[in-house]
Symmetry: C2
Subunit: 252 residues, 2 copies
């Protein structure tokens, strides 16, 4: 696999596959995380493996929400760490007010620590772990996903979740937080429940969000508020669904 | 995962996921096989996780082709062995004229042997391994996939491949063999190149094929030839594509 030439039309997708297999071997993600990634691959294929205008609009709104937030947080799980540890860390390095918290579906403290170490190795300044002696909990869900670090998502007003399951997204929304979701399925519960749903592949959209955050940092807050006011997540999801249904179910 | 109740609406899909993870741990399939399975899961989701009439028609034609064949073979790889070793072995046990051959994309003799042992443990009477000292080769492809056992696919006139890559399917077709493909993507190269494309989930369609073979065993060959004459794989694929595009991109 590592001999795939960069000129290969599906080079990026194949590299992501390799990152994930390495993540499994490094103890960052799980076997079921690999299967979940395959589902995402199929959806991205239908989207033509490119960032569509509906994703750009969601990224712009997400950037405004993060810029206006008092305490924005990025939630990172095993697949996100395997695929985009560098991209997430770069973002947190340039914007130290945006924290990172590790939250796992199939949790273990060892895996959580490995993910935190990986993020730190790419320069992330602050990485918290959700499950710990001082954890707060989201009341409406079970399992390890309910935990929040009191200095992280516990006090966050805006949370970005990526490749997240519907239960946790719902609990975060019900807790009154604003939720940004990165999810390739526009009809997933996660995408439908979140306030800002970025229907795009993770490593394509995080650098775009990074650039947008840089541009938005110096904008008057009134401009950002106006952008949020004009944003309609239902419309974004319906555009994404339309593209998905018309998309190229192409050869493998 | 093994605590999923049978009443769960996605019980079958979750059980298949578990079989595949066990297959990885048992050395039958690979990490990239897990990702490929996830792609299939997404497509099956779009198909509503059920066997459609277009798949039933393809199964009927495939059964006629196998029944009329001089030397029909089932080609088994790591994902097929992980998901459907029992179903494949049951079929070969009742129809000893249908042979099984192990052929791997990411091949190793150890993995090939493990897969053969697994099939034999479910009662498959004859299991050949493609790669060996006496192997024949398909001229137009590279890698381990080019190998054929001289007493198996080497002399086969009809070959059933499941979850197969496009290159090998193409080479088998170009070699003059009749190819039956089980593939959830109706626009994959494999599905487009095969003579009979069963767009359905593996463990749903193999038992159906088994029942159909039993029914066809006593039919006059003229009836089976007529069934083949009336079969149009392009039409089947276009019906499958239509369902896929209208299908339920449902919540996860």
């Amino acid at each position: 696999m590592s001999e795939i030439p960069p000129s290969h039309p599906r080079f990026h997708s194949l590299m992501m596959r390799e990152r994930l297999v390495e993540g499994l071997h490094a103890g960052l993600c799980t076997e079921t995380g690999l299967i979940a990634h395959g589902r995402g691959e199929a959806l991205d294929y239908l989207l033509g493996e490119r960032t569509h205008p509906f994703a750009v609009h969601a990224i712009e709104a997400a950037s405004a929400a993060i810029t206006l937030a008092n305490h924005p947080m990025l939630s990172v799980n095993g697949n996100v760490a395997s695929l985009a540890a560098a991209e997430m860390a770069e973002l947190a390095k340039e914007f130290p007010r945006i924290g990172i918290e590790v939250n796992l579906f199939h949790g273990s403290s060892e895996r959580s620590r490995k993910i935190a170490d990986r993020l730190r190795s790419f320069g992330a300044p602050t990485v918290l772990e959700a499950a710990g002696p001082d954890s707060m909990v989201l009341a409406t869900i079970q399992h390890n996903r309910k935990y929040m670090h009191p200095d992280g998502i516990g006090k966050a007003d805006v949370v970005l979740v990526a490749l997240e399951d519907g239960d946790r997204c719902q609990a975060l929304v019900e807790s009154g937080r604003r939720v940004i979701a990165i999810d390739l399925n526009p009809l997933s519960r996660t995408a439908k429940l979140a306030h800002f749903s970025i229907v795009d592949e993770l490593t394509r959209c995080v650098p775009r969000l990074h650039v947008q955050l840089r541009a938005d940092r110096t904008l008057p807050s009134e401009v950002l508020k106006q952008r949020l006011h004009g944003y309609d997540n239902c419309r974004i999801l319906s555009q994404a669904e339309q593209v998905l249904r018309q998309g190229n179910v192409a050869s493998k």
